[in-house]
């Protein structure tokens, strides 16, 4: 080999080595940047960015926040802080709750609609693990009790009967692919029409109807699995809401053209006393104290959301919450002072709540906070402005620390999270046609409902 050729080859080798070193340096630098800036909190597992529906890389972004602490554009951030609004389930959800594990870590536990598998999710950074893998297909809805360890699944069998099954999550001490299994389960009566879980998660009130059309309200005590009948009434169209083991609010099922009533029922004395009288389109969402409720009413063809406040003059006095929505799109803070709601800027035409229940109309909700003490409202965010999505909010609940609102989008049953408390951007504010605490704007925003 000629010396010139050797020198040339030596030079090529050096060049290649330099390129390799440069590539390695770039990779290391990239890794460092990813580790410290793009990865979130840097803990093992990392965020499951694929379910975040927005971001730098085709929806996989988990951008850190801006230096203002407010998420960039409200949907992601530049310093690893959690977004304002993000999707947290990988699958359509039949029900969800907040679960605190023995180590004190908070998770959102949800049940997948398709197979009935249970998942735990750390909301941010997103980390999801499957808790059970037993298949219970086509779940319609599911509720949790006992800190997420008891589950009541509900589905319709092939002949159209509502089946209700109570199961317990049994954790697998040996570990493995999944954290636990579902207990054999107990079949509750067929055709349980409606049910409600107590706020402490230890009791369930459910209603069945016998062949004579008589409603039977039963109380299931989850720790003991005992069932006792606490309510019998010849009228059965009730929507129950448990405030405590002794107190259940019963609201008649609503239609926009018929009057409804709301009652408080005390299971220990069997006393049924009326709290809301004779309102068309009446649906309710009572606060944990039971002294307040948001309720809907159709007044002269327009749909309104109003406040029932027992502590104010001792009777129900309607206040304007500044926006109009279905009360079941709302959830109350623990102290019963604030409610967080999904509410549309405009209502599509149609009789409410009938058309919404029948799936004939859907909403594109904004997220509102309502201070029932001050009677003030504030729009917290718009999913359209934040993420370009239309969300029809159902089954909302607050995290225990009150920082996050979780809800299911009715359209596709996906579970979402919304960070409460950050100020609105200008873009979000301009998205709404309603202003807070503005009585005049309510009638503008509410839509005239039509008789069917």
């Amino acid at each position: 080999m000629e010396p010139d050729q050797q020198e040339q080859e030596g030079g090529q080798k050096k060049t290649i080595q330099i390129i390799i070193i440069l590539v390695l340096l770039l990779l290391i630098a990239g890794g460092i940047i990813w580790w410290f800036f793009l990865r979130g909190d840097g803990s093992a597992g990392g965020p499951r960015g694929s379910v975040v529906p927005f971001g730098l890389f085709g929806g996989d972004d988990t951008r850190p926040p801006t230096d203002t602490g407010r998420p960039n554009n409200g949907i992601g951030s530049d310093t690893g802080e959690r977004p304002r609004l993000w999707k947290i389930s990988s699958y359509p959800v039949a029900g969800a709750t907040e679960y605190v594990n023995p180590a004190g870590v908070h998770f959102i536990r949800y049940i997948e609609k398709e197979r009935g598998n249970v998942y735990d999710v750390e909301p941010w950074p997103l980390r999801e693990s499957r808790v059970t893998n037993e298949t219970i297909p086509r779940i319609h809805d599911a509720v949790f009790g006992m800190n997420g360890s008891s589950i009541i699944f509900r589905y319709v069998n092939q002949v159209g009967t509502i089946m209700t099954n109570l199961k317990q999550i049994v954790l697998n001490p040996a570990g493995g692919d999944v954290a636990g299994t579902l207990s054999e389960g107990e079949i509750l009566p067929n055709d349980i029409d409606t049910l409600s879980v107590s706020p402490d998660g230890e009791a369930v009130f459910f209603l069945t109807r016998d062949n004579d059309g008589v409603a039977h309200g039963k109380l299931l005590d989850l720790p003991t699995r005992s069932v006792s009948e606490v309510f019998t009434f010849p009228f059965s169209e009730w929507i129950p809401q448990m405030i405590s083991k002794n107190t259940i609010f019963l609201t008649t099922k609503a239609s926009g053209i018929y009057e409804g009533y709301g009652y408080k029922y005390l299971t220990n004395t069997h006393e049924l006393s009326k709290v809301i009288d004779n309102k068309k389109a009446l649906t309710t969402q009572f606060s944990p104290s039971g002294k307040r409720a948001l309720y809907s009413e159709n007044i002269s063809g327009s749909f309104y959301t109003l406040l029932y406040d027992e502590s104010n003059s001792g009777i129900h006095i309607p206040f304007s919450p500044g926006f109009t929505t279905m009360p079941e799109k709302c959830t109350w803070s623990r102290n019963s002072e604030k409610a967080y709601c999904g509410a549309p800027s405009t209502f599509p035409p149609g009789l409410l709540p009938d058309y919404w229940y029948q799936g004939r109309i859907s909403f594109s909700d904004n997220i509102w906070a309502y201070d029932a003490v001050k009677n003030e409202s504030e729009q917290l965010g718009s999913p359209q402005a934040l993420a370009g999505v239309d969300l029809d909010i159902t089954s909302p609940f607050l995290s225990k620390d009150g920082s996050t609102l979780f809800f299911i989008n009715k359209g596709d049953s996906m579970l979402w999270a919304f960070t409460i408390g950050a100020p609105l951007t200008e873009a979000e504010q301009t998205d709404s046609t309603m202003t807070a605490n503005d009585g005049a704007s309510i009638s503008t925003a509410s839509t005239t409902t039509s008789s069917n």
Partner: protein, 333 residues
């Protein structure tokens, strides 16, 4: 002989007339005494709590318009004057009691007293129609012509506990037609009127001792049955959250359509009285009684990818309960 018989008939008629007149005199004179010369009329007849109410004095014997009248409520003078025949007030809350007295001094100096005790009471009418809605439906089942309606009266008398077993109930429909009355008759069954017409369902209720009374009437508008279509997903089940209308696009090999016959009589549906006529692309593909809520549309290799599905529904037990609806299914290539 004939004249004698005719005379007997005349005498008999006169005797009967005299007896009837005497009985009538005794009866009505007793009634007048019992009622007194002045009566106090309360409007509304059975006022509820916090309700504007009027008491008016009437008499065919005493000239109350020329009388000096003092109104006293629970021992306190609240109104007085010549011809003050009317007293307007708002009733108290549930459980309250107001004794209202009118002290009347007639122009001739004769005095009398009328008193009324108001104990506001309430009665709610809760009613439900026996019409079909799908499982988990959170709304009210609407009544349709001929469908059964069950109504329950829920009286509240002061602080008393459940009084339904001891109270007296009198039910009516459209103010005139009685639907039943009796002690403890807190529930009644009837049927819905014609579509788009309204029935007034009323109840009057009073306590065993008559001290409490309440009344209420509710309008019940009859709706028309309707059909809505939903996708019956093999994965998720029937997707009640979204009713299908217009044209639905599908990329699958088949589309499972589920129809919900809203507000047909439940019992009739259960006893297979509903007649389903399914049409696909204007061809009748199935006529069947019973429960035939589902149809599968296939995406065939050949032929059109767009299909129009029409369902006509009729209740053979209540022929006015009928409806139809259609939806388009468009398969992608």
């Amino acid at each position: 002989m004939k004249n004698f018989r005719a005379l007997n008939y005349v005498l008999l008629t006169i005797r009967i007339s005299m007896v009837v007149t005497l009985i009538s005199f005794l009866f009505f004179s007793h009634l007048a005494l019992a009622a007194g010369p002045i009566s106090a009329i309360t409007t509304p007849n059975a006022p509820g709590p916090d309700m504007p109410t009027t008491i008016r004095l009437q008499s065919y014997i005493v000239d109350v318009r020329a009388s000096f009248i003092v109104w006293v409520v629970n021992g306190e003078r609240v109104q007085e004057g010549v011809g003050s025949v009317e007293y307007k007030f708002t009733t108290g809350s549930l459980g309250s009691e107001s004794r209202i007295e009118a002290l009347i001094t007639a122009p001739d100096g004769a005095t009398s007293k009328e008193s009324v005790t108001i104990r506001p009471a309430l009665v709610d009418i809760l009613w439900q129609a026996d019409t079909f809605v799908p499982p988990f439906y959170k709304g009210k089942a609407m009544p349709t012509h001929g469908s059964a309606i069950r109504a329950v009266a829920l009286p509240q008398f002061g602080q008393s506990a459940d009084v339904s077993k001891t109270a007296f109930f009198k039910w009516s429909r459209d103010l005139s037609r009685g639907l039943g009355e009796g002690t403890g008759l807190s529930m009644v069954n009837t049927d819905a009127t014609w579509a788009r017409a309204t029935m007034q369902l009323g109840v009057e209720v009073r306590s065993q001792d008559g001290s409490y009374k309440a009344a209420r009437a509710v309008p019940i508008l009859s709706a028309e049955p309707q059909v809505q279509f939903y996708e019956d997903s093999p994965v998720f089940g029937v997707r009640f959250e979204k009713a299908l209308s217009g044209i639905v696009k599908s990329s699958e090999a088949e589309f499972h359509l589920h129809a919900v016959p809203y507000f047909f009589s439940s019992t009739d549906r259960l006893y297979n009285k509903l007649l389903y006529k399914w049409y696909v692309d204007n061809q009748l593909v199935r006529t069947a009684g019973g429960i035939n809520d589902d149809i599968t549309i296939l995406n065939t290799e050949t032929g059109s990818k767009d299909h129009r599905v029409l369902l006509v529904l009729q209740n053979s037990a209540h022929v006015t309960q009928k409806t139809g609806g259609d939806v388009g299914i468009s398969f992608s290539e």
